[in-house]
Symmetry: C2
C-alpha cells in the first residue's frame, strides 16, 4: 500500500495486546504467551506497551482473574527477566478499581507509565488519578471512553479541565462502541486538539465497522500522534486496530514487523481456537447503532450467536410503543 | 456511525456476492443458496446484481464448475421464477473467455447489463467486448483490474480510449491485490474522473488491509458513484467491501438491510464452515507487498496455512541475490 508520507516519525505506537485482549478471557493468558508477546513487541520497535490493568485484589477476586487484571510489579519483572527494555512499559487503571497502595513509586517499579481510563462524566476523578500517578513518578495519560456518546460541548469542557489540571502526555479518543467512521474520528481529534494546547492526542479504534485501522489513519491525518493497536487486532468484541497494519502503514525504519508475524504464527493461531474476536455481525450491529457491545457479547455467548437478523430486530424494534 | 450526508442518493450499489464469492468455490453454490441471495438483494433496494460470470462452456468444462461460471439465461430465469425484479441483473465477462454466441440479445435475456473485466494492457479488447454487449442491447461497463500495478500515464491513455470508443455507463477501479489505502483510492478515482468526461467512476475494493469498506468511502468522497459490495464481504481471498456496511453507511431510505441480515443468518453461517474468506494474514502480506493473492491462496490451501512469518520471509527474501 501507499505509505504514510512522513514515515510515521511523529507517531507513537502503543501496544495493548494483553491489556485489551484480556477483556475477552479475564486476562487468563499463561506466562509463556505473555512473555512471547512482550518479547515480540519489544523487538518490533513499538514505543509503549500497556501490559495489563492494575487493579486492587480487594475488588477482583484473584482466583477469578488472570495475572494481567492486576499486573503486579513482581509479575512484570518475571516476564521481563533478563531482556533489555527497548520500550516503555505501563498499565491501565480504572477509576475506583485501584487503591493508592496498589501503586508503588516509579523508581520501585518496572513500569514507566500509567493510563487512566475514564468516561467523560468522571473526568475530575480521572484527573485526580493521573495526578497521583504523576506524583509517584510515572508518565501519565488519560483515555476517554465511549466517545461516540458525548456531545462536543461537554467534551470541550472536560478536555479544558484536563488541559488545566492533569499532568498527562496525551489524551486518547476511545471509540468503545466501534461506532465512528473516518469523518467522525477526524472531527473528534480536532475537538481534542482545539482544547488541549499542551497535550498530544491519542486514538484507540475498534473494528465493529471494519474501520479500526482506517479510523486510526484518519485520526493521524487530523493530528493524533499517539495510537493504540493490538497484534491481530485482538480485543473485546470486534477488537482493535491491528498492530501489523499500523506498523506497515507507518513504514518507519525503527519498526520491524517480522517478530509480530512470528508471534502470530507461534501463539495466536492456537489462541484463536480458544477465544473469539474480530468483525462479527452482532458487533457490527451494535457499532452501527452506537451501542455498547455488551449485548452483542452476550448473544455471541448464547445459542443465538449467529441469529443476526433476530438480533437486529430485537435491537431496533421499539418495544415500548406497545405500552 | 455518522452517516453519509447526502444519503447516498448519488451512489449506485452493485452486489457481486455470487460472482465474486464463486471465485472461492468455482461457483458451486446450490440453487437454494443463489435464489436466497437473489431474493435478499432484490428485497434490499440494491440497484444492480451481478449474478455470475458468463463464460463459454467450450473453455470451462461444465463438470468442473458451478452454474455461475456460465450464468446461462435459462438458469437465471429459474432463479428469478415469479419474483418481480426491483433491480438490474447482469453478468461479468472476461476477455477471451466468452464467445459472441454465448450472448443473446438483451430482449431475449433476463439480463440488462454486462461488465467487462480487463487488465489495462487489454483495454482495446475490453472496448470491443463492451461494444458487442452494447450492440446487443445491454448496458455495458468496464472494470479495470490490478489497478495498483499500473502507472498514471498508461492509465490515462487507456481511460481516454474508453472515453472515446466504449459506450459504457461506468468504468470501475478494481483493487485486485487489496493494496490500496484511502489516499491511493482517492487518487485513482481522481485519475479516472479526469479522463472520463462522460462516464461514471466505479470502485471495487478488497479487504487485505481491512480497508475494503474504508477505501469505498474514500472513493465515494473522491466522486465514485458506482460501488461494488458483497454480503459479509465474501469474495476471493480477503474478500470485498461488505454490503451490510455500505448500505448502513449510505443511509438511504431506499435500502432495507434486514433481508441482508436474514440471509446471513440463513445461509452464510453454514457457508463459512465450508469455504474461507476475509482478513487473514497471508492475504494481508500480499496486500502490503502489492502482489496478486494467488501465492497467499496457495499457502492457505497447504499445511503451511498459518505459518505467517515463514510466508512473509519467503516473499521478502531476495533469493536471486545468491546468484
Amino acid at each position: 500500500m501507499e505509505k504514510k508520507k512522513n514515515g510515521g516519525k511523529n507517531v507513537t505506537v502503543v501496544d495493548c495486546t494483553i491489556r485489551d485482549g484480556g477483556l475477552i478471557n479475564k486476562w487468563q493468558f499463561d506466562d509463556k504467551m505473555v512473555r512471547a508477546v512482550f518479547q515480540a513487541v519489544n523487538a518490533s520497535g513499538v514505543d509503549y506497551m500497556e501490559i495489563g490493568y492494575r487493579a486492587s485484589e480487594k475488588m477482583f477476586p484473584p482466583h477469578e482473574y488472570g495475572a494481567w487484571r492486576f499486573s503486579r510489579d513482581a509479575k512484570i519483572n518475571e516476564i521481563i527477566a533478563s531482556e533489555n527494555l527497548n520500550m516503555k512499559l505501563g498499565v491501565m487503571v480504572d477509576i475506583g478499581r485501584v487503591d493508592e497502595e496498589d501503586i508503588l513509586t516509579a523508581d520501585e517499579s518496572p513500569l514507566s507509565f500509567i493510563r487512566v481510563a475514564t468516561y467523560l462524566k468522571d473526568v475530575k476523578k480521572a484527573i485526580a488519578l493521573a495526578n497521583m500517578a504523576a506524583d509517584k513518578g510515572y508518565e501519565a495519560f488519560i483515555n476517554i471512553m465511549a466517545i461516540s456518546t458525548v456531545n462536543d460541548f461537554d467534551l470541550a469542557a472536560g478536555l479544558k479541565e484536563i488541559e488545566k489540571h492533569a499532568p498527562v502526555t496525551a489524551v486518547t479518543v476511545v471509540d468503545s462502541y466501534g461506532a465512528l467512521n473516518c469523518d467522525s474520528s477526524k472531527h473528534l481529534v480536532a475537538v481534542f486538539k482545539d482544547n488541549l494546547d499542551s497535550k498530544k492526542v491519542g486514538f484507540h479504534g475498534h473494528n465493529n465497522l471494519q474501520l479500526g485501522f482506517a479510523n486510526t489513519i484518519a485520526a493521524m491525518e487530523a493530528g493524533a500522534s499517539f495510537c493504540d493497536a493490538t497484534i491481530t487486532g485482538i480485543g473485546r468484541a470486534a477488537g482493535n486496530c491491528p498492530l501489523e497494519l499500523l506498523l506497515t502503514y507507518l513504514d518507519d525504519p525503527r519498526f520491524d514487523i517480522e517478530p509480530i508475524f512470528q508471534i502470530m504464527q507461534d501463539e495466536f493461531v492456537e489462541l484463536r481456537k480458544k477465544i473469539e474476536w474480530g468483525y462479527l455481525i452482532p458487533y457490527m450491529i451494535t457499532g452501527m447503532l452506537n451501542e455498547h457491545p455488551r449485548v452483542a457479547i452476550a448473544v455471541r455467548n448464547s445459542e443465538e450467536k449467529d441469529n443476526y437478523a433476530d438480533f437486529y430486530r430485537k435491537l431496533t424494534t421499539p418495544e415500548c410503543y406497545s405500552n
